[in-house]
Symmetry: C2
Subunit: 286 residues, 2 copies
């Protein structure tokens, strides 16, 4: 009997996953979204094998459920549909925070296996019309299984990630994920926003290079989503911002002192750290 | 009679300019470098029409001289060769700071026109073996002519830039250039270095996405060059670092307060600034 993957939320990520999972291990790909324009687009562009507006219709048949909604939407979905999930299924989400979602998943019955996922992919755009199948090429995917989660389900999600084109899959706890993501992702957004808040921002056209464009790119963000992601990880994020301010201050003070020998020392130490950790991979998604 | 462009310093930028200027308005392209391996590479790869180690040999014939050296090297070159430049020629440099180089150019005789240039292009690599002709495609080039500079020379440098593939040419004063570059370029390097100085840096592999790679890319910098560039513009750079710290603090404090409505307000304001200024162009040079 054919198995079914249900993707709830056909936005940028959900839509891209649907496209990327076409042909995965004979799973039928089913999409759910409450927006009629989104469903229309999905049908016209064959984003999934079947789409509908009501999760109740398809959830009882789902072997794997992927919740591609905002964190608050996921929390509400868990509560509203806890008794509709098929016993034995595995439910995952794709949120950029994992602890808060894992806590919300506590309302699910024991027969439903929740395993958090975070595909390290995305662009500053949103909506199904910006979804594309190659979104996950060469990216990392993070899994945060619970102690109770089964290895078979972890293996399924791993195969799913590799099929979508991910470079690798990292396994960790929700807390560790949130701590690292505060640094590697959320801080990048705070930096971009803070750079754009500079009084000189509107004078810069013609004087900016690739590093400025690259740094500020993610500032054009989805406010509703990022208000949730940042506030749900405020503790860890405040800590990394404090570290960054300390490090900026160290450079600022050396520059102010005019001690070029010390400046050269600091530049050597910092750049050596970067050279030690070669981070190959796309700087800019398509 | 054939005209001559002499490029002193066949590193990443000088080498790329030599390649990009092949066939420009019937100018013969001559390269000067003191490194034998560089000259050998240049000859093997036809980087210029002619290369040599001694500037004295070719400078008297040069109509346009491009100094692609570190700022200190340029200062020394001005002093050493002030009487060798051909009267009526135009001399330019490609440094990332313009005030300090313009000051050093004061030793040149009145018969030599110095006009600062800053091609907003480059990669984190160095050396002629990393030079490529497409370096300047779709990039900005900044010109900082002196009041005494001739329009004919400004026009020549403008045509040169457009021939190399630049998107546009901006004209400003050395002071204004340095003030803006502190923000658009130098600050990006200080940010990259400061992010790499975080204690979590070496834990991040597998958790980083395109924004982290994009932000930290320029941290792998040429220490000797950047010690000069940053210290020569310390005043303007300290000021922009202070602004950044203030803006980061504003976000840090809102996050710490738990006031999500205020957080949403700030995110809206900052992201709106970014959306207003669409910075199209490469995020990452080839």
């Amino acid at each position: 009997m054919k198995k079914t993957i249900v993707i709830v939320g056909l936005g940028l990520i959900g839509g891209s996953m649907a496209l990327a999972l076409q042909g995965f291990e004979e799973y039928e790909i089913v999409g759910v979204d409450v927006s009629q324009p989104t469903l229309r687009y999905a049908r016209e562009h064959h984003v999934a094998d079947y789409v509908c507006a009501d999760a109740t219709e398809v959830l009882p048949h789902a072997d794997l459920v992927i919740l591609a909604l905002h964190p608050k939407g996921i929390t509400e979905f868990f509560s509203a549909f806890r008794d509709i999930f098929r016993p034995g299924c595995v439910v995952t989400d794709v949120c950029g925070v994992k602890r808060a979602v894992a806590d919300a998943a506590a309302v699910l019955p024991d027969t439903v296996d929740y395993i958090g996922t975070h595909p390290m992919a995305g662009t500053e755009f949103s909506g199904i019309n910006n979804a594309f199948a190659e979104m996950f090429q060469d990216t990392h995917l993070i899994l945060t299984p619970r102690p109770e989660s089964t290895e078979a389900h972890v293996a399924l999600l791993t195969r799913m990630a590799m099929y979508m084109g991910c470079k690798d899959v990292y396994r960790t706890t929700p807390e560790e994920h949130d701590r690292l993501i505060a640094y590697t992702s959320q801080l990048m957004h705070i930096i971009a926003l803070s750079v754009c808040d500079d009084p000189q921002f509107f004078d810069c056209k013609g004087f900016e290079g690739s590093s400025f464009r690259g740094c500020t790119r993610v500032a054009a963000l989805d406010v509703a989503l990022w208000t949730q992601l940042l506030s749900m990880n405020a503790g860890a994020l405040v800590e990394v911002i404090d570290h960054l301010r300390d490090n900026l201050t160290a450079y600022r003070d050396v520059l102010s002192s005019g001690d070029t020998a010390l400046l050269a020392e600091k530049l050597t130490a910092s750049s050596d750290r970067k050279r030690k950790l070669d981070l190959t991979g796309p700087d800019l998604l398509a």
